[in-house]
């Protein structure tokens, strides 16, 4: 029995030592990066390997799926644990991190390099995202991947029915109706082509597909006094147009996310959509696409206002409590340099530098770059508020309710407005 008791105590002791042992040596030359698992994070991972080979700085990668990346970073940064030296951020998260002063200001670090500000080559709408307040404030992040929405449409079907590239949402709606009515058997595998397809699943999906219509109709999420104003006449009119487009969308679109929209476009069963550049290359892949060479990409239609895309950039920032800020900044500058960003672009990520969007080699490989640059330069960020995740969630719920027929456009917008007001009230 004495032996058994000894074993129990010994196991406990081992457990404790294992639990308490720190495996980090803060003095070693190494960096830890939190990245998104996906094409954007992959490019940064590759870059990290190259950097390690060139400089000998060891880089650890902490990779998380998109759905978990935000929470991992938020928990680590608010706990001031200092686990990451660099983090990748989706731009709508940025106000939350910046407003809580969780990031390192970059201007002083730039000064040590003799630079008074970030490189002029960055697209202004991209670099503006890394400032708090937006566009005018201090710089906390550099843009790495320059996504913004585009209108995808089937140029073969548009030509067949003498339709021109839609410049307004009314034209887009008319085209969607024409195609839905006439292409009853036009899909590559037989069956109907729907004129339009969208993501209306609650949350990010519905909101992202609605915002460009909302803005084009003159809607604004907040009025000049910062109060929510989504139930303005412009906002309700925009939602009506979304529901009209829904009539020419495949059944069940109210729960569609990116995968379903992508599938419909690739199978040739839908003719038009708001989508993101990451999908462009799939249309030339014979194993996935039945519409090779038939998809065109352009800037978004307008209405009362010119069409403007929603921007969706990946930013890289240095947490306030990072352990190796100088080394992290060296890597950040290196990874976002024109030379390295070109390598990321060749791996499939849209750049955030003007010189790369016009680089002949890249334009030859990615013919949509001119349209992407036009879209990016005129794009808008999602409303900049630390409460964006919550607001997007309730707004998405009511947009989804309107699209599934549960609420009228007026009721949906009125109720969304009331809930957004509650969120702002709680945040005070």
């Amino acid at each position: 029995m004495r032996i058994q008791a000894g074993i129990v105590i010994a196991s406990l002791a081992i457990l404790f030592t294992v639990a308490c042992r720190s495996n980090r040596n803060p003095n070693a030359k190494q960096l830890t990066l939190a990245v998104n698992s996906g094409v954007e994070g992959d490019a940064l991972k590759q870059a990290a390997k190259d950097y390690e080979a060139q400089t000998g700085v060891h880089i650890n990668i902490a990779e998380f799926p998109y759905a978990n990346l935000f929470e991992k970073e938020m928990i680590d940064l608010t706990a001031r644990a200092g686990a990451y030296d660099l983090i990748m951020l989706d731009d709508p998260w940025f106000p939350k991190f910046a407003s809580q002063q969780l990031l390192t200001e970059l201007s002083p670090l730039l000064k040590t390099k003799g630079q008074s500000g970030p490189d002029e080559d960055f697209v202004p709408t991209s670099i503006a995202l890394g400032r708090e307040p937006y566009q005018t404030g201090a710089l906390y992040a550099l843009p790495y991947v320059g996504n913004s929405q585009l209108l995808f449409y089937r140029k073969d079907l548009f030509a067949k029915h003498n339709l021109k590239e839609p410049a307004t949402w009314d034209e887009a709606l008319a085209a969607a109706k024409t195609l839905s009515d006439l292409e009853i058997n036009g899909a590559p595998g037989g069956g109907k082509v729907y004129g339009y397809v969208m993501r209306a699943a609650q949350g990010n999906a519905a909101v992202a597909d609605f915002m460009p219509i909302f803005w084009a109709f003159g809607g604004e999420m907040f009025d000049a006094g910062g109060r929510p104003a989504v139930n303005s006449p412009e906002g309700i009119a925009a939602l009506r147009l979304m529901l009209e487009l829904g009539k020419y969308s495949p059944p069940g679109y109210a729960s569609f996310n990116a995968d379903e929209v992508g599938a419909h476009l690739l199978q040739g069963t839908a003719a038009m959509s708001i989508n993101w550049p990451a999908w462009i290359s799939a249309f030339d892949d014979p194993s996935r696409s039945k519409v090779i060479g038939n998809m065109a990409f352009t800037t978004l239609p307008g209405a009362k206002n010119p069409g403007r895309a929603e921007i969706g950039n990946w930013l890289i920032a240095i947490p306030r409590d990072a352990r190796n800020k100088e080394a992290a900044f060296e890597f950040l500058l290196w990874a976002t340099s024109a030379e390295q960003m070109k390598r990321s672009a060749l791996r499939g990520n849209p750049p955030t530098r003007k010189s790369l969007f016009t680089d002949p080699e890249l334009v030859n490989k990615f013919p949509a770059y001119p349209a992407q640059l036009r879209s990016l330069e005129s794009s808008r960020p999602r409303p900049r508020t630390p409460f964006w995740n919550e607001i997007e969630n309730v707004f998405g719920i009511y947009l989804s309710k309107a699209n599934s027929g549960e609420l009228s456009p007026e009721d949906a917008m009125n109720q969304a407005n009331a809930e957004i007001a509650k969120i702002l009230e709680r945040g005070k």
Partner: protein, 295 residues
């Protein structure tokens, strides 16, 4: 036991028992009790401008939060309907497969497959099968000449709840079946022989012999399933993400969003506490029934 191990002044067996229990107690304290206390204290604080203060605000908000009330309602509907269906189907299958059937072991093994799959995998498979345009379900129905235009399984507010219940029933009926079958096999033959001699009908035998003797197994199965159903997360997250328009948002999903998407840990803790309370009350009810029977 108790050979040669002595702690001065303490009975040796007791000391050893405590010592051997210590690791379990330590793990329980560290991983269950401490987080529970911490969660309760979190739920009683609100943070504004980076400063936390004590306040019952989170619990007050519960009552007026229509999303919380809706999620609670969805969770209860989901749990009650799924539990009833799973129990009835599980019982029927158990009674059926307790008989001498040809291919009995094949059916028994086959029935357990859904339960062995990870819930996430089940969610993904069903999401694909229920896709209104490309999915196998509507494809098969179309093959029979049915008009499937209105059957948008996961995107119409009414069908979406039906769909997540159906998937849960598909996956977890085998669990009910397994426990009830074990319960049936533990019933001795004698009561049945006695009932036969007394000339009882098949229904009477089932009602007055099988059911009362199966009661402990039934209660254990219901208890375990109820706890699982009340905290349902994975299938719903994958099948509908709570949509369309909140129609299938369950409490766990809403708690997850509140904590990890909106970083409002206090309110999430308050909701978790309510969920824990409900689960505890229902479990206590089952356990009392179980003990009443045993004594």
């Amino acid at each position: 036991m108790g050979v040669g191990f002595r702690v001065p002044g303490v009975g040796s067996d007791k000391a050893l028992a405590y010592l051997l229990l210590a690791p379990t107690l330590f793990v329980l304290l560290a991983l269950s009790i401490y987080p529970l206390i911490h969660a309760v204290s979190l739920s009683l604080q609100i943070t504004s401008g980076g400063i936390a203060r004590w306040s019952p605000q989170n619990f007050v908000r519960l009552v007026s939060d229509q999303f919380f009330l809706a999620a609670l309602g969805h969770t209860l509907i989901f749990a009650v309907v799924a539990l009833t269906l799973e129990f009835l189907l599980g019982l029927a299958l158990a009674v059926l497969l307790n008989k001498q059937l040809r291919g009995r072991s094949f059916f028994r093994a086959g029935l357990l497959v859904p339960m062995m799959l990870p819930t996430v995998v089940v969610g993904v498979i069903w999401r694909l099968m229920l896709n209104p345009n490309f999915g196998a379900v509507n494809g098969t129905l179309k093959g029979f000449g049915l008009n499937t235009a209105a059957l948008t399984w996961t995107s119409s507010p009414r069908l979406a709840m039906f769909s997540i219940i159906a998937v849960d029933v598909w996956q977890w009926t085998p669990f009910m079946f397994l426990i009830l079958l074990a319960g049936l096999q533990a019933i001795p033959q004698e009561p049945y022989e006695a009932a036969l001699i007394d000339g009882s009908s098949a229904w009477q035998t089932f009602r007055h012999v099988t059911l009362p003797l199966l009661k402990p197994a039934i209660l254990v199965a219901l208890l375990l399933r109820t706890m699982d159903l009340l905290r349902v997360f994975d299938q719903v997250f994958i099948l509908t993400e709570g949509g369309p328009g909140f129609a299938t948002e369950t409490l766990s999903l809403y708690i997850y969003r509140t904590a990890f998407r909106f970083s409002d840990f206090g309110y999430a803790a308050a909701m978790s506490f309510v969920l824990l309370l409900i689960t505890n009350i229902i479990s206590a009810f089952y356990i009392r029934l179980l003990q009443a029977k045993e004594s």
